[in-house]
Amino acid sequence: MAEPRLPTLRDLLARAHLRLILFAVLLATASLVLSGGLVIRTYAQRNLELVARTTAYTVEPAVVFEDREAIREGVISVAAGRGVERVEVRDAKGRLLSEWTNPHSGALASLSRAANRFFWPEPVISQIRRGSEQLAEVRIHGNSEGLLRYGLAGLIIALSCLGLTVLATRILARRLQSDVIAPLEHVAEVAHAVRQDRAFEKRVPSSGIAEIDQLGRDFNALLAELQGWHAGLTSENAELVRRASHDQLTGLGNRALFDAHLAEALAISHSSGVTFALLYLDIDRFKVINDEHGHEAGDAALIAVAELLRGAIRGVDRAYRLGGDEFAILLGSFAQADQVDGVVERIRAAMAQPYRLPDGFAVTSVLSVGVAFSGEAGETAEALLRRADAAMYADKQGHKGLTD
């Protein structure tokens, strides 16, 4: 089932205009035809009375001389014509002296006869008197042909006006579309762009129509708020992502990030054959600091060591805190194995710098460092890590021999 098409604003405007203009034209036509018809009816009535009086005056001597031919000629010369349907001259006893009936012709004839009975139900009568003597009377029946013609003309004019109305409505609707609908379409375009492309920086241009401008201003304000919210959400999201992958205490990458980066590096190494180095480190005698100076001191030591590590490694290397006092470093591209030794030496040198604990003691830490190179085919991350761990353990054993 197709969804029923919604009417456009243009359709609605065109329909509203059409109804309005139709109503106006019909009202104007009806009132004009009605009032005009009444006026014409009044004048026609006066005309009939005048014709009756004139006929009576004209045929009076003919009636006196009892000359029927002269009566007939008098009637024809005065009364015959448009607006008169029938003329009768009757003497005082009611005998017909003369009559004349409008010879109808044309399509209007039968309609005219029906209309005559409606408009002129009674004849207009004029008496012929001579002194006090009642000689005869003239009876004139009205003809409604003129009224019908007027009504017909009114109808034709009304229909023509209606035709013009329909045309004018279409033109008006088209103009309204450019004036009203185009600005609305701008709003819709911006809304669409914002939804589709997250283009929160877009703004609705001014339209020049008060209501649509108001809408545009509110819409723009809403867009500005949305833009703010969007920016806030984006930064919060970034912060959350950073927190999920970084150690809160030291700001180094955490275990999860390390695992991900290690797997990534291994995959690249396996596919391209490029070797990378993994450094595994922990702080010697960290437990002593924790026990003798408290956890705060332990945290301070971790922060200080992390800071020193960060300063010692190159830009391409990445440092992680795996948990407790254990750190790891992934060394990026290097040309030779002694470059790795260089990095390790720099780390050991950096550790020589003393740092201050919260309780005021200045201490230095010694790191045990184990190095493992990637490159063995099919080696897993765990295996590589174990090798590095073993190397670190060996290093730590060496340190014990020195200090203890």
């Binding site: 003919a62 009892e66 000359d67 002269a70 002194g131």
Partner: protein, 187 residues
Amino acid sequence: MRRFSLLALPLLVATAPSAMAGHTLSLLAMADMPLGGSAAGDSRYAGAVARTVRAVIEYTRWPSPIDPVVLCIAGPAQHAAQLASLRLSDGRRVERRNVAASGAGIGGCHVLYLGQMPVGQQRALTGAVRGRGVLTIAEADPGNTSEAMFTLTYKPDSLSFRLNIDAVSRSGLKVDPRVLRVAQGGL
């Protein structure tokens, strides 16, 4: 000439020839008055003559109002039997007087009805009252030479009159022009 019949009586009397030809001075008009019934002994035109004379008087205006209207019958009249009892529609009476064909005693007449007499005598009478406000009606003037304002003509079933416009315009009277229209067929 128009013919019209109302209450037509099948009569055999031939009308006098209405001699229009040869007369150049006068404009003539004519109307038809159907004959009504007549009283026993009267001329069968008497009733129609009375009605025509009455109508002619009614449509004639004198310079000053007159009441009663003095109708003088000059000479022996054949159809004037019912002229004695005329009364106009506005209530004025018509007073009948007989005057001599010679013209003696026509001084107070408003209407002069010319009876059966020679044309020369008729012309003498119409000439005597010309311009003095007297309505002249000729009963017997088949040649239209009497110079009377109205001349009666007779048809089998109706009475007609001719109107001598020349005589009317010289009479000093006003005749309603609608009467001319009634009689226009004669023009």
